[in-house]
Structure formats: C-alpha cells, structure tokens
C-alpha cells in the first residue's frame, strides 16, 4: 500500500471502507511518515473546527426572513429550535447520584425539559454572547471540565467524614477520555437526524425510559457511561474496593487535570450521606462487554515491544490482461499525462505536509530526483516506490497519489525481519564509472565468491546487526557444480541466441550518464558531414522549418515597417503629375495704371481656366505654365520679409530683398503656374527668408510656403496656393529692391 494523503484524509473523516481502513491501519504500523501525516491532518482539523462562530440575533432573523419574503410581517416570530433533543444520559443526571450537586449546566430539578444544543462548537468555543436564557447552550464534557469529579469533590467536602471506606461509585470511574488514539478514533458519520435538525423533544427525567433513543455518539467525545472506548490502557478495571489499585487504574489514563483532585481523594471522601453505599462497585457495563485489546499499537514503543503480526489478505489477485481498448486508452492517457506534466507540474493531491514533502512548484521534480539519487547512493536497495507497492490492489486512489520519494525504511527488529535485499545490478556503460553504492561499485570491494557459489549479498547495517542480536546463519557449502556437457553445434540455436542478444542489448534500459573521457584519450574526429544525397532526419527537417518560418516572419515584418515608414515620410507619386488639365493661356495684358508696372517691365497678366484641384508635386521648370521672367540675373540678395496687402482690385504680395554683401542688379525671378491654383516664384541667387509672414484673413491666397525642392535648379522657390484661378502681374521696384506680385481675380 502506498502512502497517500487522500487515503489518510478519508480515513480521518471516517469515509474509508472497512477493507481499506484495515489496510491503512496495517500500513500505519510500520510507516512513521504516515503516522506523522495523520497527526498533521488531525491538527488541521482541530484548527478549522476551532474557528469562531457567528450568532445572529433573533430579531434579525425574523427581519431577514421578512425581507426575503419567506414570512409575512404579521407573522409572529418563531422561536428558533436549532436544538436536537436527546435523552439526558444517566451519567449527567443528578438523580443517579443522590446528594450530589447538580452540574452547572444541568437544569434545575424542577425543570421539565432539557434540550441540548448541537449548534455550539464541538470544541467548546461557542459564541461569547451565548447565554442560557437566549439559547440553551450545551458543551460536550471535556476532560478538563470533568464535572463528575469536581462534583464529587464538592460533595465530599460537604459531607461529613464517616471513616468508612466508600464503595466506588460507578460514575467515579469513567473511562479515561484519552486523546483520540490514532488508529481507533474515527468521527462518526454525520447523522441525518442531526443534520436535519430534529425539533426539540421534551426530555423525560426518567433515565431508564427515555423519550427518544439516545443520539449517536458525538464526534469528538465518547459519551460517558456508554460503551467504553477501546483504547483503555488497562482492562478490566481493577476492583474499586481495593483502594490501592483504583487510583492507579483511574490515573493511568491521564484523565484528570493536573490541578484537580486525585482519584484517591475522591474515593476517600465521596461518601453518600448516611454512609450507605448507594454506588455499586461494578462498572456500569457488563464485563463481557469489555472491549478487546487494541489491535494496533499506539506508539512506537508498543511496536518495538510487541511486534504484531500483520494480517495478510492472501496472495495478490492476478490482474486480468487488458484488452486492446484498455491498452490503447492507457497509452493515450500516459501520453497525455506526460505532455501535460511537461508543461506544468501537476498540483494534485499527492504531498503530505510536513517534513519530507516535496516542494509545491516546479522545483519539486528536481527535488524528487535529487532525493531519489541520494537514496540510491546511500542505499541502493531502498529505492522507494518499487518494493512496497503490492500488486493487485485494485484501488484507483493509489495510482495517482504517490507521496514521492521516501527515506530508506527502517528495518523492523525481531525475528520477522526480512532478509536484506541485494543491491540492484546496475551495470555501468563502457567508459563510465559506476555510481558509488551500486552493485558494480561495491563489487571489487567484496571478496570474490568461489566459482559455483551464489554471490552473498552484502549485509545491511541495521540496529539489530549493530547490537549483535541478529547473526546471519552461515551458509552451508554448496556442492560442486556438475560440469556441463560439451555443446553440440547448433547453428540455428546460435543464430537465435545472437538475435536475442542483439534485441536485448537494444532494449536494455540504460540511464544516461555523462561520458568520462580519459585524459590520455585522443581527440575524437569530427563526424563526417552528410552527403548531398543523404536524407535529413526529422529533427533537421523540423529545425529547417522553424528557421524558414522565422525568416518569413522577419521578412514580413520588415515589409510592413517599410510600407508604414514610407507612407509617413513621403507621399506617393500621383498619376496626375502632368500639366493642369484645362489651361487657357491668354496673351498677357499690360496694366499701365499699376504703379509697380511703371518702374519695371510691363507685368504680364495670365488668365487661367478651371482645372483640377489636386495638389501637384514639385515639377521641373518645364512643367510651369504662363511663365514670367523678371530681373537681369543679379545676385547677392536675400529675402528679408513678406508683406501682404489687400487692395480694391487685387491682392499684393511684396518680397523685400536685401543685399547680402555685394549685390548688383536684380535677381532673376521666374513666375509661373504649376497648376490652376498654384503659383510658383523662383528666385535665382537669393537666400530664402526665415518665414513667409502672416497672411490676412480674407484673400485669394491660401498659403505661401517655401518649396523644399525648387523646380529650377539653384533657385529658391516659393509656392503660393490660391483659392481659385487668378491672374497675376509682377515686377521689380527699386530703392530698396523688392518684388511686387499683384494677384487679381
């Protein structure tokens, strides 16, 4: 049987079937780790059980039910009957012990009804606000309370000394409420009556004829006076009329608090009034009801002192050979489990908390492997998981709940100690050193056995061997082996034997180990490169496909990045880069009235018709239409400022030119339409201005910008965007030199 936390938990909850329970108890005898785990689980159960309780006020309960629509507001509030009424056991009745004071939680003698509230915490941690008036409280009698003993002492203090040796009261001796033993304590399964909340039933004071049958035994405390618990340390109880034995019998259980009265004191002073022995010396149960001896030991000392033969269940059953469907299913399940475990650690229930438990996360596998290796090196025969698993245990709970590597099991002492197992025959590969502790490693240290004798396994160091009480008997000498007959030539048999050897060698499981290369070994030549016609393996194909996919992804990424960056940096070339679609070039018309025209050559007025509105990219000089050239080719000027003016008949743009150093003449200015609404001004040998000034609000000019690329090489080009087709007249004005452009239309 494997160590399993699930089985331990189910055993602790009493949900284990009887057969499995027996197996577990037998396993617990020899498994210290499972015993510790069971103790841990029990502690956790107690911690959870000791959590605080919540108590809802009665008026809030009624208000809540009204709010939820379960009851009407007019309905009278109903007293909550959460109690389960049971007949008060005789050991709690004060009538059974006349003269004893009633227990503190017991009702008054004239009280007709008694209810026992099961809602209170089983550990005695009921709410702080509980009061007997609001809610009939009940606390299971704990060993610390020991009301019977306390009452006995109180009664003894009140009673006069008679000097008579009292008869032992039947209720004075009570089975010592030991802490729940690990192997016999099981919580009772939840009773449906208790769960459903049986309404309170009046309690009949007559203990001999209770109104209702007694409730099942509570979970944490066996009822007093009922069947005594099985793990009574001494049974039957000694005769209580012997005062020398009674205290020891009662005290052996450790049921009395340290500060409480001693049993001897109770027996000395607990005398009934009048000296009449009203308490019988016999225990309240019949002797034949005595519980049997505990089957399983409770402590390790018991294990060592009294080895117990573990009941076996016969030879393991032979499992049926799985059919094709089952084998296929198992193979699929195994593959799936391996694939899943490779991705993430399966965090199912398989670890016992406490020492020796593997870690919770991914390190657990490494930790398990490390412990396994350590165990193998320390004790090659104690590799866990392969020798204790009993085949034929048809329980699915054991399959998936291995607790990982266990420490080397302690060898039980006694005559039933099994013989030490020989070390596994782990042979090292060629060129490798065997692991220390394996059979091959320890082989040279052992004396060579004579030929024909079976090799004697090395004795294991146990406590028994150290003390010298276990002496292995000497082996009788084996008779000399009969020399085999000379083999006859059998070519078919030899061929089959060779085939078997080859297959066996191929199928032999060899754990991987790093190969040790001797220092004086010659360097191994590089493996020959595969020829061109050699077919690549699956791994190479897989790697090639991976590289191809990476290359494709990188190429696609670069393509996308290039397209995006290209769209953001430069506009795509338009197909309509040709001249404006509709242009009407009219002969230039001289405007003699224009003041600027008087000082310069006659400006030219160009009338353009409607054309396409699409923006045009920078075009060469040949693409300009209606070109007007001004100036004599002077140089050394720079555009200082742009000025705009609105006039009644036109819109004027003035470019102020300053001489940068030595300037002469007027720079060559070329004006032309790039399209119907784009006027381009190109100045040769002129440095561009920093800004183009501020345009007025209402004018036919939309914007004036410096073109990054001039349609005429070496010139500074300004692009004047127009709101609609216009005509223009341009000329130079001197002193200072300025270019005047009048836009009409």
């Amino acid at each position: 049987m494997k160590c399993s936390l699930l089985v331990l938990s189910s055993y602790l909850d009493g949900e284990l079937e009887s057969r499995r329970q027996g197996e577990l108890e037998a396993h617990l005898v020899g498994c210290q780790r499972c015993r510790a785990g069971l103790g841990y689980l029990r502690e956790e159960v107690e911690r959870i059980s000791s959590l605080g309780r919540v108590r809802v006020a009665d008026h809030s309960v009624q208000a809540m039910l009204v709010h939820l629509g379960l009851v009407d507001e007019d309905d009278a509030p109903v007293e909550r009957t959460t109690a389960v009424a049971v007949a008060e056991p005789p050991w709690l009745t004060h009538d059974a012990l006349p003269g004893w004071p009633p227990p503190p939680h017991a009702p008054e003698p004239d009280s007709a009804e008694t209810t026992i509230d099961m809602i209170g915490s089983a550990a005695g941690s009921s709410g702080e606000g509980d009061s007997p008036e609001e809610r009939p409280s009940f606390r299971w009698v704990t060993p610390a309370d020991a009301p019977t003993l306390e009452h006995a002492s109180a009664a003894a203090a009140a009673l006069p000394e008679t000097g008579d040796r009292p008869e032992a009261p039947p209720t004075v001796y009570e089975p010592p409420p030991l802490p729940p033993p690990p192997f016999t304590w099981r919580p009772a399964p939840p009773s449906p009556e208790r769960d459903q909340g049986v309404p309170a039933v009046p309690f009949s004071p007559d203990a001999t004829s209770p109104a209702v049958p007694p409730a099942p035994a509570p979970e944490l405390e066996p009822p007093r006076g009922a069947d005594p618990p099985s793990p009574a340390p001494e049974w039957p109880p000694p005769a209580l009329d012997d005062p020398d034995q009674a205290p020891s019998a009662v005290h052996s259980g450790g049921a009395f608090p340290p500060g409480g009265p001693e049993p001897s004191e109770l027996l000395d002073h607990a005398t009934a009034p009048g000296g009449e022995p009203e308490m019988t010396a016999s225990p309240p149960w019949a002797p034949h009801d005595a519980p049997p001896e505990p089957v399983y030991p409770l402590t390790d000392d018991d294990v060592l002192d009294h080895p117990i033969a573990i009941e076996r269940f016969g030879p393991p059953r032979q499992a049926n050979r799985p059919n094709l469907f089952e084998r296929l299913r198992d193979r699929l399940a195994t593959r799936r489990a391996l694939a899943r475990s490779a991705a993430a650690y399966d965090d199912t229930v398989q670890i016992v908390s406490g020492s020796g438990a593997p870690l919770r996360f991914g390190r657990a596998r490494l930790e398990v492997e490390r412990r396994r290796q350590e165990t193998l090196r320390m004790d090659p025969g104690a590799v866990p998981g392969d020798e204790f698993a009993e085949p034929g245990v048809d329980d699915a709970l054991e399959d998936d709940l291995g607790l990982g590597p266990l420490p080397p099991p302690a060898m039980p002492l006694g005559p039933s100690s099994p013989m030490p197992r020989p070390a596994p025959r782990v042979s090292a590969l060629g060129g490798q050193m065997p692991l220390p502790g394996t059979a091959d490693a320890s082989g040279p240290l052992r004396p060579l056995s004579p030929p024909g004798h079976a090799p004697v396994p090395p004795p294991r160091h146990t406590l028994g061997s150290a003390l010298g009480d276990v002496i292995p008997p000497p082996r009788p000498p084996m008779p000399p082996a009969i020399p085999p007959l000379p083999p006859r030539p059998d070519p078919l048999g030899e061929a089959l034997a060779d085939l078997d050897r080859e297959q066996g060698a191929a199928n032999e499981h060899r754990p991987w180990r790093p190969r040790e290369i001797p220092e004086d070994a010659e360097p191994v030549a590089a493996p020959p490169r595969p020829s061109a016609g050699q077919v690549p393996g699956p791994s190479q194909l897989r790697e090639g496909r991976r590289l191809l996919a990476l290359f494709g992804a990188a190429t696609l990424l670069m393509l996308v990045v290039g397209i995006v960056s290209g769209r953001t940096t430069s506009p795509l070339p338009s197909s309509s880069t040709s001249a404006p679609s509709a242009r009407t070039a009219t002969p230039p018309r001289t405007q003699a009235t224009h003041p600027a025209a008087k000082a310069s050559a006659a400006p030219t007025q160009i009338t353009l018709g409607p054309s396409a509105q699409a923006p045009q990219p920078p075009a060469p000089a040949g693409a300009l239409t209606g070109i007007k050239v001004l100036g004599d080719g002077g140089s050394g000027y720079q555009v200082r400022d742009f000025r705009y003016g609105i006039h009644p008949g036109d819109f004027r743009i003035v470019l102020d030119l300053d001489a940068a150093g030595t300037a002469s003449g007027a720079p060559k200015a070329t004006l032309g339409f790039l399209d119907a609404t784009t006027l381009v001004v190109v100045l040769d040998g002129v440095v561009a201005a920093g800004s183009t000034g501020q345009l007025p609000s209402s004018n036919p000019v939309v914007s004036v910008t410096l073109m990054p690329q001039s349609p005429i090489a070496g010139g500074t080009a300004y692009q004047i965007k127009l709101a609609h087709p216009v005509t223009f007249a341009a000329g130079y004005a001197t002193s200072p030199l300025r270019l005047v452009i009048d836009i009409a239309g």
Binding site: S10, L51, V54, V56, L70, P190, E219
Partner: protein
C-alpha cells in the same frame, strides 16, 4: 412502436404514473429550515469569504435563491441545498439586495439597506488560521469548511459543491495539505 407494444403486451393491469408536479415545500418550511441553520450558514460564509458584511449579503442572496428555486426534498436535503445556495452565492457574488450596476443605477432608487445584527465574536478577528485559510483556493476552502466546520460528509460536500464525492475527497485532502503548509509557514 407504441401500438406494436400495446399489441404485443396485453394490458392486464393498470399502470399508474405519477404525472403530478413535485410538491414543493412552502415558504414556511423553508423559513423554519433557515431559522435552524442560519448561524451555521453565517459562520460558513464568514470564513469562506473572509468578512462578515459580505457574508450577510451572500447568505441572504443564497437564501433568496433557494426561496425562488426550493429543493424538492426539503426535509431530506434542505440543509445541503442551503449550503449549496450559499456557496454558489459566495462564488458568484450574488448579493441580496443586489448591488445596482450599469448606468441605470444613477437613475434608480436603490433598495433599502439590509442590516442584520450579527454577533461575530471570534469569527471577525483575523488570526493565523484565518489568514492561512484565505490563501487556499475557493473550492478547497469551501470543502474544508463544509467538512470540519459544518460536519458534512463527502456525499453532502459533493452536493454542496456540485461535484462527485470522490472529487470532494480530493478537494478536501488538497485543502488540508495546502492549509497545513501555509499555516506552518506563517505561524513561525
């Protein structure tokens, strides 16, 4: 098919089929059941969600759901049905009264506040056990509380958590392991 069966099997006796709807318990029976187990439900929900205020709303939500969809066998598994309803309410955060959500909450009048006088006592105090308990996953925590605090069996836990008894056993074992590990880590 039916005619063939009728022709082959002579009708020699009367087959009585109960076509009546299951008799659902009335509200008073459910109210009595709630009265009997309200403290346990509050205790369970308080330790399950880690707070008394939320537990009040969740328990009310669960009971409200159980009142709308009462179990058919109230006397048989009414307690388990209540635990199941409260567990679902805690898992899905179904409160009563439901908290307004959506933009319509700005134009609606919210319900009257729901107040319950609860004497939490030790249950409201945060200690090491409760801190360790809150680190356990919800389902495991629920299984742990149902078993060790509510005293339910594996079958009942499975019904409350809507799983099989085997799954409940595994949940419980895992919860104990996880709780014990965390408790020993933080209790130092």
């Amino acid at each position: 098919m039916y005619a063939a069966q009728q022709a082959r099997v002579p009708c020699t006796h009367t087959v009585m089929i109960n076509v009546a709807a299951p008799v659902l318990p009335d509200a008073s029976a459910l109210a009595d059941l709630v009265r009997g187990h309200l403290d346990d439900l509050f205790t369970y929900a308080t330790h399950l969600v880690g707070g008394v205020d939320d537990a009040v709303e969740f328990v009310a939500g669960g009971i409200y759901h159980a009142s709308r969809y009462p179990p058919a066998r109230l006397q048989a598994d009414g307690r388990i049905a209540l635990y199941r309803a409260v567990t679902r309410a805690c898992r899905q955060e179904q409160r009563f009264p439901p908290r307004p959500h959506g933009p319509a909450r700005f134009f609606k009048r919210s319900r009257a506040p729901f107040h319950v006088d609860v004497d939490s006592g030790d249950a409201a105090r945060i200690n090491t056990v409760k801190r360790a308990l809150m680190t356990v996953a919800f389902e495991r925590r629920a299984a742990l509380l149902l078993r060790d605090l509510g005293g339910l069996g594996y079958r009942d836990i499975g019904m409350a958590l809507e799983c099989s008894p085997e799954a409940a056993a595994r949940l419980l074992a895992g919860a104990r392991r996880e709780f014990g590990t965390v408790y020993r880590e933080i209790a130092i």
